[in-house]
């Protein structure tokens, strides 16, 4: 009997789809509710404001929220040899929420992977300086698929001033390091005081919540002012410099003890 092989053709084209995207930044965090999505949207708005061609891809298929923060109601991708993301407030924006509407989307692991592959296959981003990926929390199917399929993705981890958030981040960041993934630098969100060592700090702004859904109002907050500083820093660094990398490592060791997997000399 001749052997029959089933092949998924989609994975072959994904790198081509992202070829004209200069930098891909996956905003990730290892716990929910720490502000990844608001930072992702605001970072995209800030980079766009600074003149960079920017795209935003909400990768949190089951918990999509970018469309609410950005208020993309009435927008839908255009079909032309693929799906062309619409411009929303100057950003090319793609989300599964265009297709799921106001319905909940209960997805198990393999379905998450399939949905990600499908959108990465058919979305035509064209030329971009930055593509911001808003990731779901944790190192899960989405994170593993991005690592596997989007080779040039850099990680921008977000944490909050909480022992749990810091500890989970420390363990997760080590996995990315072992896999050789670029880490742009850790961002502390909801900061209460200045601390050395972070790539960027975004201070708690109680006025932010009421502005969600109205980008013009978000862009007037103190929160956005801090994100703007982050955007400038991100746009100036191709990846975390060796010095910043060492500083980040020192900070993690100071906060949490030894880094797992690190061999003491």
């Amino acid at each position: 009997m001749p052997k029959t092989l089933n092949i998924d053709p989609r994975v072959s084209i994904i790198e081509d789809r992202l070829e004209s995207v200069k930098r891909i930044i996956a905003v990730t965090g290892f716990k929910g509710g720490i502000g990844k999505s608001v930072i992702s949207v605001s970072l995209a708005l800030a980079l766009n404001e600074k003149g960079f061609k920017t795209g935003l891809f909400d990768m949190d298929f089951s918990g999509a929220s970018g469309h609410i923060i950005l208020n993309s109601a009435g927008s839908f991708p255009r079909e032309d040899k693929g799906l062309i993301p619409p411009y929303v407030h100057g950003i090319k924006f793609m989300t599964a929420a265009y297709f799921s509407g106001d319905r909940a989307l209960p997805l198990r692991g393999s379905s998450v992977s399939n949905a990600i592959k499908e959108l990465l296959t058919v979305t035509i981003w064209d030329e971009l300086d930055f593509l911001i990926m808003d990731m779901p929390p944790g190192i899960n199917d989405t994170a593993l698929d991005v690592i596997k399929l989007v080779k040039k993705a850099e990680i921008l981890p977000v944490q909050i001033p909480s022992k749990i958030s810091e500890d989970v981040l420390k363990r997760s960041i080590e996995i990315y390091r072992e896999l050789g993934i670029k880490i742009t630098g850790t961002v502390e969100n909801m900061s209460a005081s200045s601390k050395p060592g972070f790539y960027s700090q975004i201070f708690y702004d109680k006025a932010l919540e009421k502005t969600l859904g109205c980008p013009e109002k978000i862009m007037k907050t103190c929160f956005y002012g801090d994100v703007l500083k982050l955007a400038l820093k991100v746009s100036r660094t191709s990846k975390m410099s060796k010095r910043e990398g060492e500083r980040e490592k020192t900070r993690l060791v100071k906060q949490n003890g030894d880094i797992p997997g690190e061999v003491k000399k």
Binding site: G101, P106, R108
Partner: protein, 136 residues
């Protein structure tokens, strides 16, 4: 017309030669759930093949696979006929078949937690020998 993007992935895969012996007939399987427009896809495939002279002799056959679902909650097996959809919902599933999880329920227990066991979307089937294939 996002069929064009899917056709590009088929051509890229065949061109890569990975797991596909040169000249082997290739079967393109359309999952019933995704409801790919066969005419548009075939047109895209023809146009893309014209740009790849080395694939001139490639024989591609298109088949459709019926969609089958299995409920994780109660174990019931059902097909697309049992899952009633509006044209708008069908369109959304056409773009991302996993959207079925938002719009389709198990006809027995009404759960959205089901597996798409067959006929999801696009896939390729390659048989190692020179099995005869008509040109699409």
């Amino acid at each position: 017309m996002h069929e064009w993007a899917l056709a590009e992935s088929v051509i890229k895969t065949i061109k890569s030669g990975k797991n596909i012996k040169k000249g082997s007939p290739v079967e393109v399987l359309f999952g019933e759930l995704q409801d790919i427009d066969r005419e548009i896809f075939s047109f895209a495939l023809d146009e893309l093949l014209k740009q790849e002279p080395e694939l001139k002799k490639t024989r591609i056959k298109i088949e459709t696979e019926k969609a089958e679902f299995e409920c994780v909650s109660c174990g019931a097996k059902f097909d697309l006929k049992a899952a009633v959809n509006t044209p708008e919902e069908k369109e959304n599933i056409h773009f991302i078949p996993e959207m079925a999880k938002a719009f389709i329920k198990c006809p027995k227990c009404r759960s959205h937690d089901f597996e798409i066991t067959k006929g999801r979307g696009l896939s390729l089937r390659v048989t190692g020998n020179g099995e005869k294939c008509r040109k699409h």
